[in-house]
């Protein structure tokens, strides 16, 4: 397994929300990728956006600007 590093993670209530996040980040050239939601966040399923911690401000700005359907924001080791 890879060594865990700190990530900024965004969870969503719908798959459409996760894909909208990916599109917004790609369009704005903000780093990160979609990953399965880790169990440390929730035992449900679905995808979340995992970004390097230094991208947090940009990601949060996009969430507000694009009215993205976000469930939660986390800083965790992944």
């Amino acid at each position: 397994m890879r060594e865990k590093t700190e990530k900024f993670v965004v969870t969503f209530r719908t798959t459409a929300g996760a894909i909208a996040m990916e599109r917004a980040c790609h369009a704005a050239d903000v780093p990160g990728r979609l990953i399965p939601v880790p169990r440390s966040i929730t035992a449900g399923c679905g995808m979340c956006w995992a970004a390097p911690p230094e991208a947090r401000a940009e990601v949060e700005e996009l969430i507000v600007h694009e009215r993205l359907d976000v469930d939660g924001l986390y800083a965790i080791l992944l």
Partner: protein, 380 residues
């Protein structure tokens, strides 16, 4: 075969639609059921298709585009999810059974329903919407075009009526989506129900609903969503609220290609071409002895449908003759629109419906008109 039954389903489809379906079947995992590449490929195309549909219908949010199997499912979801016993809903005699049967079922459960009547040429009087208004009226549901005559309803008038009385406006676009501009915001439409396989020229098995913000539809089915798995109820966020179970992402990929074709070609170009062929046919047959054409051809805009009868011949016989002898595909019978046929007085005879798509030709149109001329002459 000359295919003139495009009001039932468009055929052929634009180049690239079948290939997109095949590529999706080869390349897609399950949309929203994983974060690996094949599942993400499906999820991305599904999302892009939501964006395309939102743009087409003037829906402000792609996540308020819900996919269904067809427009009948869309209308059932909207009507059963919005109306309650004690509510009153106004509809019209122009409707297809995809609207009528859900309304009749709701009626049995205690929702009051009134229909704006159509006259003997299938026309409605917009003053009747006001006449039928009650304090309990909650919504208007109607088609954008009669699937029997091709006559359009006036969305601006109905939208404005709904807004001024605080009613929900639920629209059936089965005969118009992909051909006529529809703008939910400008025309004040709360719920646009669409099918993917007619004017949108995508695969059968695709359809959907576009919703204005704050329209709250009860989910009619619950099940797997790929998210919020430990929640006992269906998640209430759109589009997931109305999309339990695996989506038809293969079909949606085909719809994606079809919507790209529509955008590239332009609705106006498509409409003008279809309209020119339908009117060419109408002009060729309307004065033939024994031929009766239904609907309003003085209207500037109408769907590319010409419905007719020859003398008192059974529409089924005429359609069969057109198919077997002239290799022309048409639709006879009642077209799942019983109230409209009652208004037109054609319950027993039925009607033969010719309907065009962008991919028909003038030559096909002329051959069809010539076939009608021959059959009309033989009927004398």
């Amino acid at each position: 075969m000359i295919y003139l039954d495009n009001a039932a389903t468009t055929h052929p489809k634009p180049p690239g639609v079948a290939a997109a379906v095949a590529a999706a079947m080869d390349g897609f995992g399950n949309c929203g059921r994983g974060a690996y590449q094949d599942a993400l490929s499906a999820a991305r195309v599904v999302y892009e298709t939501r964006e395309q549909a939102a743009e087409l219908f003037g829906c402000s949010r792609p996540d308020h585009v819900v996919f269904t199997a067809n427009i009948t499912e869309s209308l059932n979801i909207a009507l059963f999810g919005l109306l309650n016993p004690g509510d009153h809903v106004i509809s019209t005699d122009l409707e297809h059974n995809s609207v009528l049967r859900p309304l009749y079922r709701l009626q049995k459960a205690g929702t009051a329903v009134d229909f704006v009547p159509a006259d003997s040429n299938g026309q409605i009087d917009y003053e009747d919407f006001t006449r039928l208004l009650r304090p309990q009226t909650r919504a208007v549901v109607c088609t954008h075009a009669s699937n029997v005559t091709g006559d359009l309803t006036d969305l601006d008038k109905i939208g404005s009526f709904c807004r001024s009385h605080g009613l929900l406006f639920i629209l059936d676009t089965a005969q118009t989506a992909g051909v006529f501009p529809i703008d939910m915001e400008r025309q004040q439409i709360d719920v646009v129900c669409f099918t993917g396989h007619k004017g949108l020229m995508g695969p059968q098995g695709t359809g959907g609903i576009c919703l204005r913000e704050h329209v709250e539809i009860r989910p009619w089915k619950t099940g797997g969503t790929g998210v919020q798995s430990f929640l006992e109820d269906q998640p209430m966020e759109y589009p997931t609220r109305l999309e339990a179970g695996t989506l038809n992402s293969h079909g949606i990929a085909g719809l994606h290609a079809a919507l790209a074709f529509l955008k590239e070609t332009g609705l106006e170009t498509i409409h003008r071409r279809e309209d020119a062929m339908a009117r060419r046919f109408y002009e060729a047959v309307r004065k033939l002895p024994g031929v009766r054409v239904y609907g309003n051809f003085t209207a500037q805009e109408r769907a590319a449908v010409v419905s007719l009868n020859i003398a008192d011949l059974d529409a089924a016989d005429v359609s069969d003759e057109l198919g077997e002898r002239f290799q022309i595909a048409t639709r006879p019978g009642a077209h799942c629109a019983p109230r409209m046929h009652r208004a037109l007085g054609t319950e027993r005879q039925g009607i033969v419906r010719f309907s065009w798509s962008y991919f028909n030709s003038e030559e096909e149109t002329d051959l069809a008109a010539e076939a009608v001329r021959i059959l009309a002459a033989e009927a004398r």
